[in-house]
Structures are given as structure tokens and as C-alpha cells.
């Protein structure tokens, strides 16, 4: 057991601290893809604080894959108001997939603009009738000469209104078994035949869309992997998504805000945090966060030290992280009582309504990216080796 990063990292941390201090007042202006946002993203890449291990020829920093350095960067950025590197499905899911499975032309064409924030991606996976059973998807892709022709409907497509590109799963081999009939295509969003309808959520926002696809024609070369390998390709990226949904260190930051909230809120003049029942709930949540932080350290260690088996530790993170965060936001609302139900621009609103917003948003994350029930199937089947449900005939 050794939680020290080692003296060889002291200089590196100093560099990062210096950069963060120098840039803590940087303000980004304009919508996504604005000049100042792209310039900032490029500055982070040039300094090795983003896209660190991605080769220079594809627009990355071209540094070594040093997990501890990545960790130090994340720690120092988290402490400061400095603008954080962009995230999103293009950066988190598409780039790793292309780097792993794409052709040289695809790497050249897509990685650099995606990293710079010039090219935004959305994900075309779920369909109205294919949610948890994603592999049953029915959107069709047919090869017509040098083009794929796509017809069908996608749902839960985040940021489709901001995106230039969509990585999409379509059924190209209708006669193959369901997992072997899917291909992973790259679809420009300005192609004729794409109709988008925003989905308004319970939070009041519209982060998602439905996509209606009618004879959408894209080049035949816009495929990652071979025909029928799309399920395999997609699973490579799903792994990238799950790890990022509920980081316990972010949850601990949120916990600190909750402590401040409970110190500020009063009932009959007494601070909520001084009431034993509320305080006990608060401490229970803190204990759960610490357990997940310990679990995350074990996973981090397995990335540095080869041969440490942490599969089970990884399988549980999405389930535990999202449920915990939802509980945390719920306690904040209880601590405020009636005041906790205020929303939008109401008088007496606390923290711009962020607690209610997150309470609902994290319910969305409990469902999205594989529901809690699907996570339990994964834990029991892949983790514990328990049998799958017997297949219903014809499904």
C-alpha cells in the first residue's frame, strides 16, 4: 500500500499549479465552437493538459500515457475556477474508438477537429423500441453503390442540435443474428433527410432529441470496422462512457456544498445541520462517498500496476455512483423542506434551483447509459457468473 505519487512528480505538479494559477481568470465567451473556446482547447492541448497521450499527428499532445500525471492535472484543475477541458460524447467515446479501431484516414479526418472542439458529435444508438435491449435496433442501412442509405428513427440523441456529426448504429445485415447485423457509421448532420425533434425533459430543459432519418445518404467509407461489427465497436465506447458518469471525487465536492447548505438553512432558528436526524443522514452519505473513493483508488491503482484485477470494482461504479448522487441531492431538498421545491426563477430560490435540477438530472443518469437494473444484470452475469435470463422465443 502506497498512496504517494513519488517525488518525481513534484516538478510536474508545480508546473500544473503554475499554469492553473496563471489562467484561473480565463473566461470563455460565446456558444460551443466559438473562437475563444477553440483557442482555449488548443492551449490546453499545447500544454499537455488535454488529449495528453493522443499522438501529435492526430492533434493531441503526444505525451506518455502516465495515469498519475493525468490524475495530478485533474486534481489541480478541480481546485480552481479555471475553465475545464471540453467533454462530450465525441471526445469521450468517439475519439477513443477511432484511435482504437478506425482507419488512418478516419484518424486524420476526425480526431483533431473533435479534440479542438470544432466538430461536435452526437450518438445515434437508442431507438423507440430498442432501449435496454439496444442490439434489437431496427434503423436500416443499405449499401447503394458508393453510399449507405439510412432509414429509421433514433431517440435520446444528446446535443444533436449542436452537432456536426453523429456516430450511429444501423442494421446493415438483416439476416444475421441480432448482434452480428449491426454496423457503426459516421453520419454528417447536414445530410438531407435528417429531421430533428427536441425532447423536453422533466427538468424543463431539452438536452435530448429524436432523429427521423429518411433516405439519408452518406459515403460508404464512413464506417468504423467491418460491416456487421458495429456491436463490438460500440461496446468499446460504452466502456468509456460508464466510467465517466459518477466520479466520487466530484460527488465529494458536491457533498461539501451540501454541508454549507445545511449550515445555512434554519428551522425555527436552528441550523439544519444541528438537528441529529438530518445530520445522521448527512454522515451516512459521506460514508458512502468515502467507500466509493476507496474503490476508485483501487481502480486507479490497477491502471498503474498491471495485473491487479479490479473488474468487479469497475462493474459497480455506475450503479453506485448515480444512486448515491441522487440520494445526496434528495437530502439537500429535504434539508430545505418546502423551500426545496422552489424552481426556475421563484423568490427565495436557493442556488439557482440547482438541487432540484440535479435531483432530477441524476434520476436521468440512473436510467441513461444502462439502467440500474441493467447494471445489476451486468454485475451478476459478468461479475458473479450467474446465468442470463432464458431467451423468450422469437425475441
Amino acid at each position: 500500500m502506497d498512496l504517494e505519487y513519488g517525488p518525481e512528480y513534484n516538478d510536474f505538479r508545480k508546473e500544473v499549479v503554475h499554469f492553473v494559477k496563471e489562467n484561473e481568470n480565463v473566461k470563455l465567451e460565446g456558444p460551443v465552437r466559438s473562437e475563444s473556446r477553440i483557442a482555449w482547447q488548443q492551449k490546453l492541448i499545447d500544454n499537455g493538459y488535454f488529449a495528453r497521450s493522443i499522438p501529435k499527428e492526430y492533434g493531441g499532445f503526444g505525451g506518455d500515457m502516465d495515469i498519475i500525471k493525468l490524475r495530478i492535472i485533474a486534481e489541480e484543475f478541480a481546485k480552481s475556477p479555471i475553465p475545464k477541458p471540453m467533454g462530450g460524447q465525441g471526445i469521450q467515446m468517439l475519439v477513443p474508438t477511432i484511435l482504437e479501431l478506425g482507419t488512418e484516414e478516419q484518424k486524420q479526418a476526425y480526431v483533431r477537429p473533435t479534440l479542438r472542439g470544432e466538430m461536435i458529435w452526437c450518438q445515434g444508438y437508442s431507438e423507440p423500441n430498442s432501449g435496454s435491449d439496444l442490439a434489437s435496433l431496427q434503423t436500416k442501412g443499405e449499401l447503394d453503390g458508393e453510399e449507405w442509405v439510412i432509414n429509421g428513427q433514433k431517440i435520446w440523441t444528446s446535443t444533436a442540435h449542436l452537432s456536426q456529426m453523429c456516430f450511429i448504429l444501423v442494421r446493415t445485415e438483416p439476416d444475421a443474428p441480432k448482434h452480428q447485423g449491426i454496423s457503426y457509421l459516421l453520419m454528417p448532420m447536414d445530410t438531407p433527410g435528417i429531421d430533428r425533434r427536441p425532447i423536453k425533459q422533466m427538468t424543463g430543459d431539452s438536452d435530448f432529441n429524436e432523429l427521423f432519418l429518411t433516405d439519408v445518404r452518406i459515403p460508404a467509407t464512413n464506417i468504423i470496422g467491418q460491416r456487421g461489427e458495429g456491436w463490438k465497436v460500440a461496446n468499446a465506447t460504452l466502456g468509456h462512457e460508464r466510467g465517466s458518469l459518477a466520479d466520487p471525487n466530484a460527488t465529494m465536492n458536491r457533498f461539501n456544498s451540501l454541508v454549507n447548505l445545511m449550515k445555512g438553512e434554519t428551522i425555527n432558528g436552528e441550523r439544519v445541520i444541528d438537528k441529529p436526524v438530518f445530520r445522521d443522514r448527512l454522515l451516512k452519505i459521506q460514508g458512502r462517498i468515502i467507500a466509493q473513493q476507496s474503490n476508485a483508488l483501487r481502480i486507479l491503482s490497477s491502471q498503474i500496476n498491471k495485473g491487479q484485477d479490479t473488474n468487479m470494482a469497475k462493474f459497480i461504479t455506475k450503479l453506485q455512483g448515480t444512486e448515491l448522487r441522487h440520494d445526496l441531492e434528495g437530502l439537500a431538498i429535504d434539508a430545505m423542506g418546502e423551500m426545496g421545491t422552489l424552481y426556475e426563477d421563484s423568490p427565495h430560490l436557493r442556488d439557482k434551483g440547482a438541487w432540484q435540477m440535479s435531483y432530477m438530472y441524476f434520476l436521468g443518469l440512473i436510467i441513461g447509459g444502462g439502467t440500474s437494473q441493467i447494471q445489476k444484470n451486468i454485475i451478476s452475469e459478468r461479475g458473479l457468473g450467474m446465468p442470463k435470463e432464458p431467451k423468450v422465443q422469437g425475441a
Partner: protein, 369 residues
């Protein structure tokens, strides 16, 4: 950076597990629960031969001087095997109390005996944490009077270390006059519990504990760590047994482990329990290496693991259905061991209150102390 057990720690864990598999089978545990004292003594001796008594004793007194993580690894293996043996009090808390607060003479007298497996010291600190009924001890002119409940590993002990409410520690020889030992019968038959009633018993102060409670706090936190590791070890066995049983047992023409209702029970146990292994290691590491986080980690561990242990032990019995409820299957030994661990050295609510105080969350608590 390496977060995990070392090869030495893994091999110690394995040697204890193997010993218990061979010598403390369910049949043996049942015999101990039915009153076969000799069986428990033999298992205790076997564990001492493997080195459990010397783990925490400094080398200069003949011990192995290993760290808290080693002790936690042993505690986990003992919990997994529902070992009917002293450990947390006699071989972890007692040598730690003597090392931290004992005089040279006290150390010379007791540490070598502990290391050699020739002395068991019971630890009576419950009244410092939260006195029940009218329990508690008073010390004056070298004599102790009062009552100490749930003295850990106190049965047939050679000496006791007791704490008063201000956190001072006292050593008394079990042969001294004025000591009345009463057996307490708890649900957990794998470990003995006793009550001490003391009338004017000769006692020595552990001098390092006179002025401030840092020694007693450290001893209690380390004890909490051991009980938590014990619970995690026991819970893991209950989970493993649940999965194995669900794959064997058939109803409606298929293994019950193929039903999502059952799979999800096992997944929920796993999701809660898996991080607890890491949390034990982390808290143990902090205990020896990161002083400023040590207390909070130990308290949070005790409370959190107690909750997870309760969930796992209940769910595991449910997965086993009616068989889980029987004495024959014996799952209840793990269930009850986890149940006792939950209450010893502070129930979850008490410990969370303590960690709230440590962080200054409650102004009224801060003022009072």
C-alpha cells in the same frame, strides 16, 4: 502508487484461511457453540502458532511489529472463518494500548507474553464510548471500582485494560481480589462476552493516557477497524455462499440464480460490499500513515461497514430461503457475528455522531466538549 494488499499480506491471509478451513469447519463451530471449550482453545492455539498474537507487538518485545493493514487482513480472514478466537481486543487493541501509553515496566511485563501467546488481555472501553445502564469505573488511590460491560476478549483473560469516561486507561491483573466476572450470553456463540464488576481492585494507570484521550481514541479506532474487517470478511462469505446456493437450487425448472429477482439481490450485495474491501485497506493505511485522516476514516468505516454488513447478512439469508433460517445450514453464525460487530465499540449512529463532531459539523457538540 499502489492501492492494494502486498504479497506478504495476501499470503498471511491465505495461511489463516487455510488453517480455518481445515480446523474450524462448520461442524467445529457448532461444537464450540454447543460448549466444547477445548475445541475453541485448540483453534486459538493454532492461530497463535500462525503468529496472530505477535502481529502488533514491537520487535524489541518479541513481536512481528507489522502494521494495521496486516492486522486488518487477519481480522478479515477470522471473520470469514467465524473463528472462535480472541483477536481484536487481546492481540490488537491491548498491545497497541500498552505500546502507546504503557510505562516501560508495563510493556516489559506484558508485551513479550502477548507476542508469545502466553497472555490474553481483555479490553473494556465501552463506557468511554457510551455507558449503558449505570456502568462505568472510577479510579482513586490505585483502586478501581465500578462495572465494565462487553469487555472484548475478556473471557479467561490474564489481565484487563479498562477505560474511564475521560479516556484514561487502567491495567488490572485478573488475579487481583475484588473482581467478579459474569458471562454474558449474546447471539454470537463464536466469541465470548463478559461483564466485570469491580470492588476496590488494584489498578495501574497507563501513564501515557493520563492527560489526553489520544491513546484511547487510537486504540478504539484500531479496534473498530478490526471489527469492520471482520464484518467484511464474514459478509463476503455470505455473498459467495448465496451465489453458489442460487446456482445449485432449482425451482420452476431452473436454477433460482437465473431469476432476475435473485440475481439482483446478489448484485446489490456485491455493489455495496465490493468497495468495503478497499475502504478497509484505505482506513488501515491512514491509521499508520495519514494521521489527519485516520480518525474520520476509522469511524466512517465502522458505521458504513456495519450498515452494509446488515444488508448483506439479511439478503444472504433470504437468498437461501427456508434453508437460510435453519441451524443446519449454519449461515446464522456469520449473521450473528456481523450483528455483534455492529454494536461493539459504537453502533453506527454513535460513530457517525463522533465523526460529525470530529469535523465540527455540530456547534452544540463542539461547545460541550
Amino acid at each position: 502508487m499502489y492501492f492494494g494488499l502486498s504479497e506478504e499480506q495476501k499470503s498471511l491471509e491465505e495461511s489463516i484461511s487455510k488453517y480455518l478451513e481445515a480446523n474450524a469447519s462448520l461442524e467445529a463451530i457448532k461444537a464450540v457453540a454447543d460448549g466444547e471449550k477445548e475445541k475453541a482453545k485448540a483453534i486459538h492455539q493454532g492461530l497463535v502458532d500462525l503468529g496472530i498474537s505477535g502481529l502488533m507487538v514491537p520487535e524489541q518485545y518479541g513481536g512481528l511489529e507489522l502494521d494495521t493493514l496486516f492486522a486488518a487482513v487477519v481480522a478479515g480472514a477470522l471473520g470469514a472463518g467465524t473463528a472462535p478466537s480472541p483477536f481484536t481486543g487481546a492481540y490488537v487493541m491491548a498491545p497497541l494500548a500498552l505500546s502507546l501509553a504503557g510505562s516501560d515496566t508495563q510493556k516489559d511485563n506484558w508485551l513479550p507474553k502477548i507476542a508469545g501467546g502466553d497472555a490474553v488481555i481483555g479490553m473494556g472501553l465501552s463506557e468511554y464510548i457510551g455507558a449503558r445502564e449505570d456502568a462505568g469505573i472510577t479510579y482513586s488511590d490505585g483502586k478501581i471500582s465500578g462495572r465494565a460491560l462487553f469487555v472484548i476478549d475478556g473471557k479467561d483473560a490474564d489481565a484487563y485494560i479498562l477505560g474511564n469516561q475521560s479516556g484514561q486507561l487502567f491495567l488490572i491483573d485478573a488475579d487481583s481480589s475484588g473482581i467478579d466476572v459474569t458471562d454474558l450470553t449474546t447471539v454470537d456463540k463464536t466469541r465470548d462476552s463478559i461483564e466485570l464488576i469491580l470492588k476496590e481492585v488494584n489498578a495501574e494507570l497507563l501513564p501515557g493516557s493520563e492527560k489526553d484521550p489520544s491513546a484511547i481514541n487510537k486504540v478504539i479506532d484500531t479496534g473498530r477497524l478490526m471489527l469492520s474487517a471482520d464484518t467484511v470478511g464474514a459478509s463476503q462469505v455470505m455473498l459467495d455462499k448465496s451465489v453458489a446456493y442460487s446456482l445449485e437450487r432449482k425451482q420452476f425448472g431452473r436454477a433460482i440464480g437465473s431469476f432476475q429477482a435473485v440475481k439482483h439481490m446478489c448484485a446489490e450485495m456485491t455493489a455495496e460490499l465490493e468497495p468495503c474491501h478497499s475502504m478497509v485497506w484505505h482506513a488501515a493505511h491512514c491509521q499508520d500513515n495519514i494521521e489527519e485522516e485516520a480518525r474520520e476514516m476509522a469511524c466512517h468505516l465502522k458505521a458504513h461497514v456495519a450498515e452494509v454488513g446488515q444488508q448483506v447478512s439479511k439478503t444472504s439469508i433470504e437468498v437461501h430461503g427456508g434453508m437460510g433460517f435453519t441451524d443446519e445450514m449454519g449461515l446464522h453464525y456469520w449473521f450473528k457475528r456481523i450483528g455483534l460487530n455492529r454494536q461493539l465499540l459504537g453502533s453506527p449512529e454513535l460513530v457517525r455522531e463522533e465523526v460529525a463532531k470530529l469535523q465540527g459539523f455540530d456547534q452544540s457538540l463542539v461547545k460541550k466538549n
